[in-house]
């Protein structure tokens, strides 16, 4: 897991926490594991749990699609097109891997920081 801190999330209450790209992948995969979603919906769902900016999601989705962890299909909605994202088998596996890595990381931090 690369804790390469490139993304920035801004919270309303001050403390800006940087989230590793991989964790964000995990968040998206975790949501898509439950349901297929379209871009806007996905963004708002993620934002219910963590504070990310509105333009954060597109690069994540693009990357997941390039890596074959997610694919897309189109459905028409009220006369226009809607692109849905759905998780692939490879994505499900990757999600399990990220879950484990996150647990290990979380436990490590808890030990050091104290609960």
């Amino acid at each position: 897991m690369s804790y390469n801190m490139i993304l920035n999330i801004n919270g309303d209450d001050g403390l800006a926490i940087k989230v590793a790209k991989t964790l964000l992948d995990g968040c998206v995969l975790g949501l898509l594991d439950q349901n297929d979603m379209y871009g806007y919906e996905l963004t708002k769902q993620v934002q219910e749990s963590i504070a990310v900016s509105n333009s954060t999601m597109y690069p994540v989705m693009r990357r997941l699609k390039t890596d074959g962890l997610v694919d897309t299909y189109d459905e028409s909605f009220e006369g226009r097109n809607r692109r849905y994202y759905r998780i692939t088998d490879a994505g499900v596996e990757h999600l399990a891997a990220i879950r484990k890595e996150w647990q290990d990381f979380k436990n490590g931090i808890d030990q050091l920081v104290g609960e």
């Binding site: 801190m5 379209y38 390039t66 097109n81 692109r83």
Partner: protein, 199 residues
């Protein structure tokens, strides 16, 4: 909204057509789903078209090269100069671009010096190897024991020169990797700085 997207398209124009269309259709749908129609509202939601485009391009550049794009020296210089120009084109980031340029130039200078020096040593070793070998063979009759020594020494020199050459090759390969990694890291820092203002 259309104005916003048109502007975004302009700032994305250096990307491959497929990437441009993909990004545009994503954000068109996003804005439609969000019910956002006016230009100021678009900016409030997503940042200015310039900022959004930079975010998209930065991610594409970083990812496509990380995923093992062309990894030869020419592309590394292209990559580095892309990042350098992108950074230098923003007045606020000029110092950072300067740092990036200075570090890369310094690393390159060190590499060139090392290459030249080591190459000289390798040539010296090979010449010595040849001379010793020649001497050993021609003196087998006269100075048998010494000839064996010379023979062994010449082989050692040959081996050493081969090791040095291999080390040089690895150094050059890793050097381009380091340049790329450092450039990426610096660019990440500049994205952070820009996003600091993008709420």
């Amino acid at each position: 909204m259309q104005t916003y997207l048109e502007e975004l398209k302009v700032y994305l124009n250096k990307l491959p057509q497929a990437d441009i269309e993909d990004a545009l259709s994503y954000y068109q749908e996003y804005l439609e789903d969000a019910g956002i129609n006016t230009y100021p509202a678009c900016i409030k939601e997503l940042g200015t078209p310039v900022q959004l485009a930079r975010r998209i391009r930065a991610d594409i550049d970083v990812n496509d090269y990380k995923n093992g794009g062309i990894s030869n020296e020419q592309s590394t210089w292209q990559y580095f100069s892309k990042i350098f120009i992108a950074m230098a084109s923003v007045p606020v980031l000029l110092p950072l671009a300067g740092v990036l340029g200075a570090v890369v130039a310094l690393l390159f200078a060190i590499l060139v010096v090392t290459l030249l020096f080591t190459s000289c040593i390798i040539v010296l070793f090979i010449i010595s190897f040849l001379e010793l070998m020649y001497w050993a063979i021609t003196n087998l009759g006269l100075y048998f024991n010494l000839s064996i020594v010379a023979f062994g020494a010449s082989l050692m020199l040959l081996g050493a020169s081969m090791d040095l050459a291999y080390g040089l090759q690895k150094l050059t390969v890793n050097f381009t990797k380091w340049i790329r990694q450092f450039s990426t890291w610096m660019y990440g820092k500049t994205i952070n700085k820009m996003n600091g203002g993008n709420k």
